[in-house]
Amino acid sequence: MSDHEYTPQSKAGKWFNDRLPLLTLANHLTDYPTPKNLNYWWTFGGILTFCLITQIVTGLTLAMHYIAHADMAFESVEHIMRDVNYGWLIRYIHANGASMFFLAVYIHIFRSLFYGSYKAPREIIWIIGIIIYLLMMAAAFMGYVLPWGQMSFWGATVITNLFSAIPFVGEGIVTWLWGGYSVDNPTLTRFFTLHYLIPFLILGLVVLHIWALHVPGNNNPVGIDIQKPSKDTVPFHPYIVIKDGFALLMFMIVFAFFVFYTPNILGHADNYIEANPMVTPAHIVPEWYLLPFYAILRSVPDKLLGVIAMLSAIFILAALPWLDTSKIRSAVFRPLYKQFYWILVADVLILGYVGAMPAEGLYLLIARVATAYYFIHFLVILPVLGFKEKTLPVPLSITEPVLGGSPNLAMAKNKESLTK
């Protein structure tokens, strides 16, 4: 890393920096040596930072107009949509922003899975990332409750009821969470408070996530350590800044399309019906980004075991650096892992799909098979694969792939197809 001593040019700068080395930090961030072969899948870290800031800024603005009360929440949201200047814009950015945030985080996570970014020495970055992901789910779920529509109310009822599966104390815990004997005003106000708090916790963890990243530096598509910083890396500014900026703009075009042209397509129509404890919707479905876990939950016939399966599906990810026994990081050089990777992607997509369907008949069967496969992938396939798999030769450095010569990845890829 850039461990050269930094001294500010100006006297005032030096005076300040000796007392609080902010300028050293800024210099580190600008000069931060980044592998030059990063592809566009690596731009989602920056995109996620943008998503978080967008959610916080729009969320603060919404909170100035929103009323967290069971009798007034729905109306206050309509007030925002109709009477607040550009309230519709702010709310649609916030609501679709949540979906965009998850879209980006899933790409970010699956990029990490493909290129083995979770492996030593980056385990801590990965685990912090999983905690961020968990907090994101909590924040998104509570945010969905705030408009106090039918899906808000019944989604909250279903999810909080999961805690009743805990033996002996379950019922007590649920009453405690609700602040009463059903989801009601006390539930809404505490969800609002937590929904306001969690993004700032995420912000703090993001700082740690980036800090932990800046210790070993970025992984890269070939998955090998940097040999010669002068040859293998570029300074973060301007090279990565402009590339991340370009990718962010592309992402914003998609984002804008949702906000301006199909702002409600990712939500459920029932959430435009005010919450009614007397009427249960025909199908209670969570937001799309939670569907795979919802499918896992429902695929287990026993409530407690279902909850355990669902939570394990998330927490198993934290153990991933130790479950994957292969020393090779990038799937580019792991022909078998690459195939299992794509099966896992398909498996998660299928889980998401059946999560949106009623849990019966063929759907339930598919959900069970897909759930079983999800765990088999992490608990059986990955550990075994590390010992059995014949990996391809790894280049000596980012700039000098296997046979030397061309610095680009295409060489390594050609090599791979030749060995088939």
């Binding site: 949509m81 814009l89 090279y239 399309f257 301006f260 042209y261 409600n264 129509a269 029932d270 369907m357």
Partner: protein, 259 residues
């Protein structure tokens, strides 16, 4: 081997998709060309004004619209009644206000700032008057139904005699677009039910289209502003993206030569 897994992925997708079509025996909603769809979609002013007429003469006897104010009727992007027309519409309703200095509630003519007057005092009164069924508030109704505008448009024209063997309870009607086919609202529209002041012929289809357009506006009063801004925002983003792309190429060209 690689191809094998790719085809496996492919098959699983096709399988999932076919499950989808198997499970859902959805009725196809009637479609019409909505003026508010598309990148530049705008409301048809005439349809909005006629739609308001249908709402006020037909729907509003049972359905409330509690989030819409009379002033909205004169606002840009809506039916755009003149301010005087909107004032006259508001004044034609009796609004309960108060308490006054004596602690009494009183009634007065409606003002632009008032919300649409509700047909019933509360939800219970609405239920009592409608055989136990609550006529839903119409403010955001289009967004609160899965099929959106097409669904409302179809439902209004979907009244039929029940199929043989199906018996309907008192006050329940058959509608081929309703979820479960049973609806507690009887067929409300018939040809010539209202007399449009602009001379448009009031067929059931025409009225369904007008009222649905009106309901789309009440659900999304800023739709036109949204479409306008969206187009500008996306054009701006595309231009900026192109500029940033070329800047990026220029900056990165320094490296390529160095390597």
């Amino acid at each position: 081997m690689k191809n094998f897994f790719k085809s496996l992925l492919h098959i699983s997708f096709v399988f999932v998709l076919s499950c989808n079509s198997m499970a859902a025996e959805k009725v196809e909603y009637l479609k019409t060309d909505w003026s508010f769809k598309g990148l530049f979609g705008k409301f048809d002013r005439g349809a909005l004004q006629r739609g308001y007429q249908v709402y006020s003469e037909v729907c509003s006897s049972c359905h409330s619209m509690k989030y819409v104010s009379y002033r909205n009727l004169a606002e840009k992007g809506g039916p755009e009644f003149s301010l005087d027309q909107a004032k006259a519409i508001a004044a034609s309703f009796e609004v309960t206000d108060g308490p006054n200095a004596d602690g009494e509630m009183f009634t007065r003519p409606g003002k632009l700032s008032d919300k649409f007057v509700m047909p019933y005092e509360n939800e219970k009164a609405a239920q009592a008057a409608n055989g136990g069924a609550y006529p839903p508030d119409m403010s955001v109704l289009v967004k609160a139904r899965g099929g959106g505008a097409n669904y409302i448009y179809s439902l209004l024209q979907g009244y039929e005699d029940p199929p043989l063997g199906m018996t309907l309870d008192e006050g329940v009607y058959y509608n081929k677009y309703m979820y479960g086919n049973k609806i507690k609202m009887s067929n409300q529209l018939s040809d010539g039910l209202v007399e449009y002041s602009d001379g448009t012929e009031a067929t059931v289809e025409q009225m369904s289209k007008d009222i649905t357009t009106f309901l789309m506006w009440t659900a999304e009063p800023h739709l036109e502003a949204r479409h306008r801004m969206g187009f500008k925002a996306i054009v701006y983003l595309i231009i900026l993206t192109v500029l940033v792309y070329f800047s990026m190429k220029k900056i990165w060209s320094r490296i390529e030569t160095e390597v």
